[in-house]
Amino acid sequence: MRTDDLVALLATGVEPVPRHAVGRRYAVALFLGMAASAMLMLGLLGLRPDLAQAVRLPMFWVKLGFVACLAWASLLATLRLSRPGMRLDWVPAALVTPVLAIWVIAGVALAGAPPIERPELIFGTTWQSCPWLIALLSLPIFFAVFWAMRGQAPTQLPLAGTAAGLLAGTVGALVYCLHCPELQAPFVGTWYLVGMLIPGLFGALLGPRLLRW
């Protein structure tokens, strides 16, 4: 086939492209992934029994805000890396800032606590399961976000995979917040972070394989 013929073929009967096609696909993916993740959480782990009291504590919202800021920054990174020629600009800073903020809060909490109580602030009672459960809850979101990204045009595949993985990890952590009994900033700044980074790492490894187009 000559190139002119290909051009004619592609242009003939071309269908209009819906506006915001990229954003819409991610919206569908996140909705479905989050719904599946929430069902997994309710079926496997259950809501924390004292959720009604917990929502009155400022630390509950600090934790939720920390995770939500990371989810928002991951979403921005994912959207930008889905489009050829789009730069990340300030998005990496938006990813790092919430982490630094929670570490500052954690530092203050640790400094103000008697040394004997400090391990308790860091390890809580669930540090061994927390990162794995976050990674588990992010699994359906991971599949959904990768499905969405496969319909786009990422040109930096390891980076795009990392962003997609982080998006899954952060949204999974958001769901996990409704189960998790821990509220200490040192705990959140350590084990939540590890939990969210696990899908990010898998995304970096799988991106070059799964996202080619």
Binding site: L6, L10, A11, G13, P84, M86
Partner: protein, 191 residues
């Protein structure tokens, strides 16, 4: 990737055509693809001086990629940056596939230029493509091949194609869309 490309009349005209093409204006879209073809050819000729036989195949592969991913163009983004990023991705992908095959080294040297280079030259002198897309097209399953042949090669409307094939109109649209993506995938596996 410089912003300066945005102000050039060349870029503005191309962008205008693409935006109308995204709204379904086939003539504007045709003009866009035709002009981009010349720029891609010139760009790949410079980059693939050692591999002149690959140029026309890569032009076709990139055109198909631009078409299949046209929804990822953000109207706030300079057009050149978008086209250039796709062209570079396809070029690097080709060199990687070849390198994997032949264990070539340092194929990516000299890629550190910028997007404004893309519109700096055009080349309308098409060499023959070595890979025949019509052969790959013929290998697609009927539900993708028939909609492409009717709407894209014979110029029938979606409704006429639906009547001719007994498929629903949405199945025809999906068939065209998935068929062109499958075509791009078969090019990747083919190389």
């Amino acid at each position: 990737m410089t912003e300066q490309g945005r102000s050039s009349p060349n870029e503005e005209r191309l962008r205008h055509w693409l935006l109308r093409g995204l709204d379904g204006d086939a003539a504007a879209y045709h003009a866009f693809l035709k002009e981009v073809t010349g720029h891609l050819r010139a760009y790949f000729r410079r980059r693939l001086a050692q591999l002149p036989d690959e140029v026309e195949d890569l032009v076709q592969e990139t055109l198909l990629a631009i078409h299949n991913q046209r929804h990822t163009y953000d109207i706030d983004l300079p057009l050149t940056a978008w086209v250039y990023a796709i062209a570079k991705y396809k070029l690097v992908d080709l060199l990687r596939r070849r390198a994997a095959k032949q264990a070539l080294t340092d194929p990516l040297d000299g890629l550190a230029e910028n997007a404004s280079e893309l519109l700096s030259a055009a080349d309308s002198d098409a060499a023959d493509a070595h890979r025949d897309l019509s052969k790959l097209l013929a290998q697609l399953p009927d539900r993708q091949r028939l909609p492409i042949i009717h709407t894209k090669l014979r110029g029938l409307t979606v409704a006429e194609t639906a009547r001719a094939t007994g498929m629903s109109e949405s199945a025809v649209k999906v068939g065209v869309h998935r068929g062109l993506k499958a075509l791009a995938a078969s090019i990747r596996d083919d190389t």
